[in-house]
Every structure is written in C-alpha cells, then in structure tokens.
C-alpha cells in the first residue's frame, strides 16, 4: 500500500521532485496573493462596525491559522522522523520551523495593530494572545535547539522531541477562546455551514489564505532542499549537482 512512497524516501529523488514543485507553488502564491490582496485592500467592503481597519483581517487570520497548522505539520513530521527513523521527515521539520515562527510573529504584530484601535489596547494578556506568544517561544526554542547541535541528525531528533512536547499547546490555543470568556472573539471562518461573513468579504479572504498557504509551501520547499543538501553533503549526487550549479 505504501510502496509508491518508497522512492520519496530517497533524498536524491525527493530533492528533484521538490525542485519541480517549487516554481508551481511560487507562481500560484504570487497570483493568488496579487488577486487576494488587491481585492482585500481596494474592493472588499468595510465592516459595519470596524470600518476600514477590518482589512487587517486579511493578513491576521491567514497568518494565525497557518502559524498553528505549520506547528502541527512540524510536530507530525518530527514524530514520524522519530518513530520510523525517516531522515527526510526531520529535514522537513527543520525547514518548517522558521517559516512557522515568521507567521506567528506576523499574527501577533497584526493582531496588536488591530487591537489598538478596536479593543483599545495593543496587547492584552488574554488566553488566546498569550498562547500564540508561547507558540512563538516554542518555535524559537525548536530553532535554537536545531542550531545548538553540530550533528544535523541529532539536532533533528532533539528538536523533534521538543516539537512533540509543545504540541500540547495547540489545543490550549484552539479552545482557549471557549474556555475563558475573554476579549478575543470566536473563530469566524472555520464555522461549519455558513461563514459568519458575507460573500464579498469571504472570497478575498479565501484568495489571501491560499496565497499565503502556497507561499508557505514554496518557502518550505526551498528550505527543505537546503536541508537535504546540507545533510547529504558527502554524497556524489550532491557534489555533482553543486559543481553544476556553482559554475
């Protein structure tokens, strides 16, 4: 059943496969973001309560969703890396960590810039904001642990354990809004059935979200390729490839 997956456990094949995917992701991301952001900034209607400040939504919400999804993805990759000894899974976890950290930072900064005019404060120690901040710390811990080991294989395993331990944080973030009756509103877009927004606000959001998602995919592919190269630097195919490219 899993036989078709076997060739992808080979670093060389995966490297070339990823290389082929990268331009697709890049162009999809550029096109979707260009449409989505123009739509969001120029054509989407302003909110009846929040006015034009609502446009921050189109960055804040995709970034927040992605920051958590990337962490879950990283933890799953780290878990399979530890359990099935997949070196490539470790490499993909290492590639995802900085991307996730950047998106968490974006979610926090845009959230602060949105909270100031709307709630009346840049920052509040509410459960959801706090756990997003902890998520950023977790990402930074994982990255720091990656850099602390000379041996990349060991670094991947150690950071993987931390990522799995930290995954307990994700449900706390996800459900904190329901647990504590605090300032941050409930989820808008993941509501089943009808989204709690009108269609002319929702469509640009979808474009932005998938634009950012493909951006994540493209950058992760690039970083993943880098990780594969640095982990296999002594292999003949890497040497040949580098010789070809450096010339």
């Amino acid at each position: 059943m899993w036989k078709w997956l076997h060739p992808y456990a080979n670093p060389e094949i995966t490297y070339h496969f990823t290389g082929k995917l990268t331009p697709w992701f890049t162009w999809l991301s550029i096109i979707l973001l260009a449409i989505g952001l123009t739509w969001a900034l120029l054509f989407a209607p302003a909110d009846y309560q929040q006015g034009e400040s609502f446009r921050i939504f189109y960055i804040h919400v995709p970034a927040a969703i992605l920051s958590m999804s990337i962490y879950v993805g990283m933890a799953i990759a780290a878990f399979s890396g530890l359990v099935w000894q997949l070196k490539l899974a470790d490499a993909s976890a290492a590639a995802l960590a900085p991307v996730g950290a950047v998106f968490t930072a974006i979610a926090l900064i845009t959230g602060a810039a949105w909270g100031k005019p709307m709630w009346g404060t840049w920052w509040i120690w509410d459960a959801r904001l706090t756990s997003e901040l902890i998520l950023l710390f977790l990402y930074l811990g994982v990255i720091a642990l990656h850099n602390a080991f000379e041996d990349k294989a060991l670094a991947g395993k150690a950071a993987g354990i931390l990522a799995i331990v930290g995954v307990i944080n994700i449900p706390i973030i996800k459900y904190s809004v329901e647990w504590w009756n605090t300032l941050h509103q409930g989820a808008t877009v993941s509501k089943f059935g009808k989204p709690a927004m009108s269609a002319d606000m929702y469509w640009p959001f979808l474009f932005c979200f998938f634009g950012f998602a493909f951006f994540v995919a493209a950058v992760t592919c690039l970083r993943f390729k880098t990780e594969i190269l640095s982990r296999n630097s002594m292999r003949p195919w890497v040497k040949a490839l580098v010789k070809e490219e450096i010339k």
Partner: protein, 230 residues
C-alpha cells in the same frame, strides 16, 4: 553487592531514588542553594516595588510562583549533568530495566530535594508579602501539585540540552514557555481563593497537567537522553 537475579522494576526504582537522595544529602548545598535563591528573589520584590501592603498582597501569588519557577529552573542542572559528566548516565542506560523507570526515580528525587522544601518555606514568605488570608490553602495546594510538574517538564529540557556545552540559556528558552500554563492556572487559583470563590476548576487543570507530565514525561526524557548521549 550485585544480586544475581535482575532486580524488579520497583527495586530498580527504589535503588535509584535512594542513590540520588543520598548524594543530595551529602552535598547539602544542592538543597539549600535553590531554597536560598527562592527566598532572596521573593524579598527583592518588596524592595523593588515598595512596601505598600495592598499592592504586595495583590501580586504575592505571582511573585511566589515566579520565584518557585526560577528556583526550580536553577536546580534543574543537577538532574542529569553530574551523571552525564562522570559517565554514570551511560551506565544507567545499559541496565536491563527500561530507562523511564530510572528517569522517573531521578525526577521524583529531584522534586523531593528542591520542590518540597519550597512548599514548606512558601507560607512564611507569603506572610511577608501580606498574602490574603483566604489564599493560603490554594497556595499550598497549587505548589504541592504544581512543583512536580515543573520537575517533570524541566527534566525534558535538561535531557535535551545535557550534551550541549553552555546549554544553560538554551534550557531556560526551552523550558520556561512550557511552564507558563502552570503559572497561569496556579496564580489564577490563588487569586480566585482570595475573592472567596471556588477554585477547584483551576486545581483540576493543574492536576491534569500533573498527570499528563507524570505519565508522558518519563518517556520523552528517555528518548531525549538517548539522543543526547548518542
């Protein structure tokens, strides 16, 4: 000395616990230094903030818990570092019993040495900080359930960084974010108690954190030790 038949899990656990406690009793500063640190940190706050009783009593739960957290963090190093340095850690990993038994014994020993004394000294410090009189019960309960969680989570961090030179700062970067939920719920419980409201919800969450770390941390620590001593 070594018996011929392999000791059972329980015997291995007790042996390890006894060994660590004996070592700690020989080096008494292992017990007293974190405790002294705890007391000094707590006394710094009234000096820095001012001796006004109403202010102090409001921030007392936070001060005591943050100080307990830092004291635990400071004492984490001795959990595996000495054993790693003299090679006895690698010996422990070779014995036939599963590693998590040893790990569990070491963590419990660590809590008995550093966590338990904090609990005894905390009410005295709480008096100095004018803690609301309704809160003492909550303070003791949260410390009793919460400090073991600190030892368990901390052990994961130490196990990950034990092989790294200058792992100290990295250790706090890894461990402190994971400590935050304990801190939030513990101080929330103490605050709630001060208002004479029921705080069993918060205690239940800390209890849940305790059981989670109790059942899962030993496995995570064993895995981390295997990586570090590679």
């Amino acid at each position: 000395m070594m018996s011929i038949n392999i000791p059972s899990y329980r015997q291995a656990f007790m042996l390890m616990l006894k060994r660590d406690l004996t070592i700690a009793l020989r080096h008494k500063d292992d017990i007293f230094n974190p405790l002294l640190f705890f007391i000094i940190v707590v006394t710094l706050f009234p000096l820095g903030i001012g001796p006004e009783a109403s202010t102090l009593s409001r921030i007392a739960p936070g001060i005591i818990w943050v100080a307990a957290l830092l004291a635990t963090l400071l004492s984490l190093d001795r959990l595996f570092k000495a054993d790693f340095a003299d090679g006895s850690l690698e010996q422990m990993m070779l014995i036939p019993q599963p590693l998590f038994i040893i790990v569990l014994a070491k963590i419990i020993a660590h809590w008995l040495i550093t966590g338990l004394p904090l609990i005894f000294i905390a009410p005295v410090l709480a008096v100095l900080l004018h803690l609301n009189e309704n809160s003492y019960g909550a303070l003791m309960i949260t410390l009793l359930i919460g400090t073991p969680v600190l030892s368990f989570i901390g052990a994961i961090g130490v196990a990950l960084t034990v092989g790294i030179k200058k792992g100290g700062v990295l250790l706090s970067l890894i461990v402190l974010p994971l400590y935050i939920p304990v801190l939030i719920f513990a101080t929330s419980a103490i605050d709630t108690a001060a208002m004479n409201l029921p705080y069993s919800g918060q205690v239940a969450i800390i209890g849940a954190l305790f059981f989670t770390s109790f059942t899962l941390a030993p496995f995570a620590v064993s895995a981390a030790l295997k990586v570090s001593t590679n």
